[in-house]
Point group: none
């Protein structure tokens, strides 16, 4: 298909050296669409952008880059998504520094699905990778898109698991989206471009540069409602992603491990500072349920749940009798059981540990048997 | 030594079948000392205790039990501590159901030391037991008394580690204190009676009865400022102890492990419901530091400590310079060092762990080298 010619202006703006995402957003706010920015008098532009960058804006070099990108866009599966597109990820608009333009290979429909970032060590253990893939399969089967960074180890396992289900997967690259990095994951990258989505904010052809990766991490967390770290050493880049997630108001999750394993220390540090401990996919899904219900109001189901059934009677657990089999919150239970919240909570914990009660999203409890 | 004859009345009251701890406390509140209870008119007593129990109170059978206990008390190392004794653990007075009388073998001076409950699975892994013993050694070296339940596995490792340091250890039994249970820990029990403390609220000769153990667990947690669980399955008795600790307002700590290990599931459940994740002894000590400073106001020495000597100069530890070599309390140290209490406590803990500072009774600290 022929790309929208307006895209050339978006590309010209974003490919100009010296125009950062903040400057570009400032210019767009001031002048409107990129073609308006480009057509504005130089003197006016100079109030909002460095002169050097403005010189580059109309340069031959930038024009060549734009041409190259436009040619790339002609090839099937390739696209760019700009701040002005409906396909632009709504969650990214919440972060402080959203890129003006995303280079995409694959399914841009994934950009606005419910998503979970799943990251961890490149030097993961075999068990860590196996757990990751199983987690990712469960999330994907539940409809969550798995976002990760295409690194070896945990990232790759996360993508593989994501591809196995309907949630699929997004790989956010620290290189150009046309660069196979790391080489060892080239086949995986092709598969993701085919059935998932490869994404990058960096211009085509951008090679692996160390300083781009931490910057990239804010998109991994930014695209998702939560961030799960499976194995991470204390100095791991995964902790940068987790910190970005927390800063962005996302839920942070971490999988614990042996206190003697260096690859658990990062996860333990996260749990100590407030991340949710995760043993199973359900731990994450139940937590994100709340996000789902509140994060995307349009998809919210009506809240008028049916009234609880009459107590079953005769059981040896008075609190279970009060619960019925419909989800119920602690306050209602306290009222029904005429017990203080502390006591009810303690009882609920015991019943939960005994496998008789499940915790649902939104602080609801449900009797299981 | 000859035991206090008043003890016979305490024993008579507590050895009477049908008089539970709550009833006994009610009677003591009403009538004063046990001898007053025993001497009170039956009709008056009947308002506060079941008639059957009152019939038993003066019975031959109870008199025989008292005699037997008095004979046991003659033997070296044996003692009982009653609610009226100064040696009665102050922390136990805070729990809802403190026993009226404790049977003791060994060092009753341990009953009012800073203490940590350390519990876990009987079927622990080798690594779990090794970690436990190392943790317990560190705590004991820092002056914390290790409280546990003399079970196989984690409990036994906790006691062994406790015995290695100055904090020593208390084993709270679910049997009579004269019963070796489990048999496999008989030698350990003797060592604890020798250098630590064996303790039980159950009458001498009480054999292992399943329902006594959960009840016993409230004393393990009640005697300590915090409770650390090392390895525990979901249905573990250790979780009962941890829950008792939480109910008693104690800090709960848990050591994480692999999500694939059944012995970590209990610890993970605790962390999910608010327990602190513990990777090292320091994690616990830094948390309990606050307890130490505030927990024992009554025993605190007057604050007018002698003026500090001039700084030794040239040392790499400014706080040590402020300390001098005389015992000093935290408040004075804060003033001298011009640092907030939090910072000083953290520093003191570090110095304590480094063996450079000792904690003295009454919240005083002393420089060692």
């Amino acid at each position: 298909m022929t790309p929208d010619p307006g895209l050339a202006s978006w590309l010209q703006l974003t490919l100009t050296p010296g125009l950062g995402t903040a400057t570009i957003r400032g210019l767009l706010t001031q002048f409107g669409l990129p073609e308006n920015v480009i057509g504005a008098p130089r003197a006016e532009l100079a109030r909002f952008a460095p002169r050097e960058a403005l010189n580059a804006l109309g340069s031959e070099a930038v024009a060549k880059e734009v041409e190259r990108a436009m040619a790339w866009l002609e090839r099937p599966g390739n696209s760019v998504v700009t701040l002005a597109d409906a396909a632009y990820p709504r969650l990214l608009l919440e972060i402080p520094d959203p890129p003006a333009l995303l280079y995409c290979r694959g399914r841009t429909d994934l950009l606005n699905k419910h998503a979970l970032a799943l990251v961890g060590s490149r030097n993961a253990t075999a068990q860590g990778m196996s757990s990751t893939e199983q987690f990712a399969r469960s999330f994907s089967a539940a409809g969550l898109t798995i976002v990760s960074g295409l690194a070896q180890g945990i990232d790759a396992a996360a993508h593989r698991g994501g591809l196995a289900g309907e949630g699929s997967t997004i790989a956010v690259l620290g290189t150009g989206v046309d660069i196979a990095y790391p080489r060892s994951n080239a086949a995986l990258a092709d598969e993701i471009a085919e059935r998932g989505l490869l994404l990058s904010e960096f211009p085509l052809g951008t090679r692996a540069l160390a300083h781009n990766f931490p910057r990239r991490n804010r998109l991994i967390s930014g695209l998702a409602q939560g961030c799960l770290v499976v194995e991470a050493a204390l100095a791991s880049g995964s902790l940068i992603t987790a910190r970005a997630a927390a800063d962005q108001g996302r839920e942070v999750f971490a999988v614990p491990g042996s206190i003697h394993s260096p690859l658990s220390k990062g996860c333990h540090a996260l749990i100590k500072s407030g991340a949710k401990l995760v043993e199973s996919a359900e731990d994450v899904l139940s937590e994100l349920g709340a996000f789902r219900r509140t994060g995307f109001a349009s998809t919210r189901a009506p809240a008028n749940a049916p009234a609880p059934p009459a107590p079953a009677g005769g059981a040896d657990e008075p609190l279970l009798d009060c619960m019925g089999f419909d989800p119920v919150d602690v306050d209602s239970l306290c009222a029904r059981a005429r017990l203080p919240a502390e006591k009810v909570s303690a009882e609920l914990l015991r019943l939960e540990l005994a496998g008789r009660v499940a915790v649902l999203p939104g602080g609801l409890y449900q009797r299981l048997n």
